[in-house]
């Protein structure tokens, strides 16, 4: 790996731009800016030269002979025929719906919901608490009232006793 040290190092701000410059993937303005830079920067010029040597080497081409392409097309035609024959029956239905799958599904769901709510209107009742608890909640205030009435009766009894007491006192006097 001693060779690694001999690699040219481009200016950090220019490295990616130089790769894009090599592939002619930059605007005219960018190209002019890089041209101006590499005229004065031997490191970036060297980096670009290395790309010009290395990158074409990585391309490996294969040129199959003419019979290869003939058999390629023939085989593919057979496969296409087979693919068409084994296409399932429901494929046609889905392919018909496929251009608009999401809107069609959403519309169908909204329609179904609307019909369901319309037809079952009044049948649905919101119930936050179970039946037993609901009954208890109805009875509890009544029970509280009963306690109240009981205490009122007690007060009435006290008043009666007081009245009786005052009557006795006046009698003895």
């Amino acid at each position: 790996m001693t060779k690694t040290a001999t690699l040219r190092t481009a200016c950090k701000d220019y490295e990616q731009d130089l790769v894009l410059y090599y592939y002619a993937e930059c605007s005219d303005q960018e190209r002019a800016r890089i041209d101006a830079h590499i005229r004065d920067c031997p490191s970036c010029a060297g980096f670009l030269d290395e790309l010009r040597i290395l990158l074409p080497l990585t391309v490996k081409t294969d040129e199959p002979p003419r019979p290869f392409w003939e058999s390629y097309s023939h085989e593919l035609r057979e496969k296409l025929t087979l693919a068409r024959e084994i296409r399932p029956w429901w494929h046609g239905i889905f392919s018909f719906l496929r251009p608009f799958p999401v809107p069609a599904l959403a519309a169908a769901l909204v329609l179904l919901l609307a019909v369901t709510l319309t037809l079952t209107k009044g049948m649905w009742r919101t119930r936050d608490v179970p039946l037993k608890e609901e009954a208890l909640l109805e009875v509890l205030p009544m029970a509280e009232n009963l306690e109240f009435y009981k205490s009122m009766d007690f007060l009435d009894s006290l008043d009666l006793l007081e009245d009786m007491g005052s009557f006795v006192e006046s009698g003895t006097a």
Binding site: Q16, E50, L54, L55, L57, T58, E75, L76, K79
Partner: protein, 193 residues
């Protein structure tokens, strides 16, 4: 429809006809893109038979799912997307080309070239085979996305915009993938420079 008339049609018209069930229109698309599709698959596999199978499978999938193609992208970027995904899946499934396999394949191809071109000296062929093996191994070590972006740019000459469509990613991301791939290859193949 006559053959010559079909050859004059653009991809969009051929796709529209194929979507209506015109099989010959699809076959014309196959003739138009089979070599490019094969080349991309070969870039990934470096094996003639595997490249043939994968590229044919891509055409087959394009044919069976043609009704899903909505013409928002061009036919060939859609086809390349299917093909690249197939190549990446093929690699992921463990059938990927390993270091040693790469060496064997490149060695075999170098021998085939030697037979085809006997005027080339054996030393030169051996050197060429060795370089090819190193390059193959260096490419194989790249992460999938970097490798895909690099192969489509460097080998196939697709534009950054086309690669972004094939890879369904942002153009900036493609630039970053290519830059990182080039940096990694420079480091690994320094001795070739």
């Amino acid at each position: 429809m006559e053959m010559s008339r079909r050859e004059e049609l653009g991809d969009e018209s051929l796709v529209a006809q194929a979507q209506k069930g015109d099989r010959k229109a699809f076959e014309e698309l196959v003739e138009r893109y089979k070599q490019k599709a094969y080349r991309i698959a070969f870039d990934f596999t470096r094996d003639r038979e595997e490249a043939k199978d994968l590229s044919q499978e891509a055409f087959l999938r394009a044919f069976t799912h043609l009704d899903r193609f909505d013409q928002r992208s061009t036919f060939y970027t859609w086809l390349y997307r299917i093909l690249v995904n197939l190549c990446l899946d093929h690699r992921r499934r463990g059938q990927r080309v390993a270091w040693q396999t790469f060496e064997e394949k490149d060695g075999k191809m170098a021998e085939e070239k030697q037979i085809a071109n006997p005027t080339s000296s054996p030393e030169r062929q051996a050197m060429s085979g060795e370089i090819s093996r190193k390059i193959g191994a260096a490419l194989n070590l790249l992460p999938s996305k970097q490798r895909t972006a690099f192969l489509l740019k460097n080998h196939e000459g697709l534009s950054i915009r086309e690669i972004a469509k094939v890879m369904q990613t942002a153009e900036g991301t493609v630039k970053t993938h290519i830059h990182r791939a080039v940096t990694a290859l420079r480091q690994r193949l320094a001795e070739l420079v």
